[in-house]
């Protein structure tokens, strides 16, 4: 049975197409989810894609968290549904309090589109279990508000709880605290990642195939449970 992975489209979502392509390339079935529908259509996992939901007005992700689909997603995520938020999706998950911390403007205050090295810090999430601990991969960073911030207590708790999913390995591009590129919920099923793994699934259009690992990990997790 093919695992069904929902990809939510909010007004202003941009990388929904790319997330769906990555799901397909990983062997899953992408299922489009609409922000205005209070329905997850029975999917096995959900991706919140990158983009500028609601034009980033008010604050990145601040309006999207109130979308009807989020009323379904939040309890499902708390009940263990694998959820991956990429870039704007990460911002939405933080605004929805499914993940700790916040994303703020890049150091340097400019948008950055660049290939970045990441070190996978934990494989104890459904989205990273296919990687080796400490494995370094190359994916695409493209964001203007990608600097991960949290108070010292939260950062210490994230470190202690193994909730740091990935760090920038080749220099900190945006001023993120502790070089953090991605974090997860304490249960591990909800992952937020600032760089874009879905843009590193094919050397023809990106820096390589390293990003596919997030999607194959999740699909494998669903099959084996």
């Amino acid at each position: 049975m093919t695992a069904r992975v929902g990809v939510i489209t909010f007004p202003g979502s941009l990388d929904d197409l790319d997330a769906a392509r990555a799901v397909t390339r990983a062997g899953g079935e992408p299922v489009p989810l609409w922000h205005g529908d209070s329905d997850l259509r029975g999917v096995d996992a959900v991706v919140l894609p990158g983009g500028f939901s609601y034009g980033d007005y008010l604050r990145c992700g601040a309006i999207a968290r109130f979308a009807p689909v989020m009323r379904e997603l939040v309890p499902a995520a708390r009940a263990g549904l694998p959820v991956l938020g990429i870039c704007n999706g990460f911002q939405i998950l933080c605004e929805a309090h499914l993940l700790p911390g916040a994303l703020t403007r890049n150091a340097g205050l400019r948008f950055i589109d660049r290939d970045v090295r990441l070190r996978i810090e934990t494989t104890a999430t459904p989205w990273t279990r296919g990687f080796a601990p400490g494995q370094e991969i190359t994916v695409v960073l493209k964001s203007g508000e990608g600097a991960y911030m949290a108070d010292a207590g939260t950062l210490a708790a994230l470190e202690a709880g193994g909730q740091i999913v990935a760090r920038y390995a080749g220099g900190n591009p945006n001023g993120s605290a502790s070089d953090i590129a991605g974090v997860c919920s304490d249960a591990g099923n909800v992952v937020g990642l600032m760089p874009h793994p879905e843009h590193a699934i094919d050397p023809l259009t990106g820096p390589g195939r390293d990003g596919l690992g997030f999607f194959t990990s999740a699909l494998q997790a669903m099959v084996t449970g």
Partner: protein
Amino acid sequence: MSPVDTVARAAGTPDQPQPHAELGLTDAEYVRIRDLLGRRPTDAELAIYSVMWSEHCSYKSSKVHLRQFAEKAPAAPALLAGIGNNAGVVDIGQGYAVTFKIESHNHPSYVEPFQGAATGVGGIVRDILAMGARPVAVMDALRFGAADAPDTRRVLPGVVGGISFYGNCLGLPNIGGELAFDACYGGNPLVNALCVGVMRHEDLKFAAARGTGNAVILLGSGTGPDGIGGASVLASATFGGGDSAKRPSVQVGDPFMEKLLIECCLELFAAGLVAGIQDLGAAGVSCATAELAAGGGAGMRIQLDAVPLRDPSLGPAEILMSESQERMMAIVEPGHIDRFLAICARWDVPATVIGEVTDGGRLQMTWHGERVVDIVPGSAADDGPVYHRPAARPADQDELAARDPAALPRPAAGGELRATLLALLGSPGLADKSWVTEQYDRHVRGDTVLAMPQDAGAIRVDEGTHLGVALSTDGNGRYGRLDPYAGAQLALAEAYRNVAAAGAVPLAVTNCLNFGSPEDPAVMWQFTEAVRGLADACATLGVPVTGGNVSFYNQTGAVNIHPTPVVGVLGVHQDVRRRLTIGFAADGDRILLLGRTGAEFGGSAWAHEMHGHLGGRPPTVDLEAERALAAVLTSAAAAGLLSAAHDLSEGGLAIALAESCLAGGRGCQVTLPGDPFTLLFSESAARAIVAVRPASEAAFAALADSHGVPAAALGTTGGTALDISASPDPSAAFTIPLSELAGAHRATLPALFS
């Protein structure tokens, strides 16, 4: 509140003075409007004519010359829609059509760089959308004043930030463009934005209102006072509205609304609910109504008071002139209106019925029941003034040509050549552009196959068949200043060559003609020469002009910019997996120089950067050589013979070799087969370097030979340095480690603008 100026009132008050001059209309043009109408125009009508007959909308100074693009156009069965539409449309096979166009937003980008450049992107994207296509990528050709001029530090970061803000939020990959600096653009930057879109043949839409009783629907943002240059003049002169606020003359963009508008329109197209569509750009509602009605040979009745407003104080003339962004106008059959509005609601896009198509052949508008406009739409859209402006060869043209760069001191010894290469590689116009291009999302939509710093940008159109398109924009104002006829041809030749160097077959052309004041006969001569040159070259190369844009009145103080035609060429990749990249990709590949090199330094980067010199002749144009070179490059790409290819242009072979080394992270050993300085820095056209895979050398040699393209062996790829020697002159040898090349190349723009 003054009474509204109705048609009846205008007929009864023939002698009421009107501010036509303040609105940019000449006395003769005003008289012509009165003759056309048989009375004085109302304020609203005057607003329509003033914007529709502006240089920007009517092409009144350029029209008589632009006809050559159609008259001289080569037979082009691939052309599905040509000049005169919102954008040209080209058949690329497999049932796909591609539409692309480049347009200027120069003046707004000087006044307010961030919003000026942002709305430049927004405007060209709506042009592409209006053809029925999904916009898939953008490019930007940017020219600024001297890089170290204080105002450039205001304008450049603002322009780049605006493009980044708007394009990124819109979800369109930015796949290339240009960045150039010259003092002539100091008070007048050039911001030319290109967009490309893809559709199926049957999805093609035209801007035509047909079908009596069909609804006219305005969708997108509300109408505000933005972009109204002249209406406040009109208001104060006619209405005596003393408290009228100062209007912002530059529009403000909302890319989020534009993203919704794109998705909404594409869904409306797919549902078959759109009978005609037009974007609202310059001249807003005036232009959309007049062009749709004229395009369909129909009439139209509009209730101007039904237009949703962001500022309720706007009157009819201001609504007609507003350039508020993110708006489209659609023609919809009555039976489709409900479904149309439902789709708009699903996308949170406001949409309002503001009128209907009529069979009367007149464009009529009311304001709260009173008629304020009653004109023949074609009189505003098509029958504007046409000027044959006087043209005269500039007095200094001969003197400029006589200022021969051959007299300039040249580097000869290895150390001098080395220093010259590093200086050019780090000069602002040739330096690494990552500081700019990293601010653009080039990955979104996942189909970007080539982007900066490659010779061309390329987009995959079909994931299953690997069909794709490549695009390059090029222009060189210095060449244009030395010889506008040749300069325009060289711009075309370079874009054509870049597309071929990426492995794509060149197919069609768009252009953005940036010039000074058309009222200056010297500028008019430059313009006529450039248009003639471009039209002739397009005919020779067999690539039709599909559309474009003219921007006049580009000047810093009283000094006109260099004549700067920017040419965009679109090419087709049958298989994007066979695309060529500039970086040396493997060790031990043979590097060849294709084409002939002469001592051509007029307008060169070397003369400009090292000597502040502009004079002599630009490089010789040889279009047959360009065609042969392109045939070799595209055939070699399709056959998989090459591991790299890079066009030679500004800075010549020296810059091309350095860029290929840096892009591939790999050095090379090159032995120059002739005068080292000339071979390294000449800008002779119709040249490229290629790296040939070891097993393919014989096949490539035969291919080049069959097309009569000279191919000189230069050396091999590999190592960690750019290593140059010269067979006749050992003292000219030099070596530059990659790390030193990278340092020189990458430090410049961050140091200037961070």
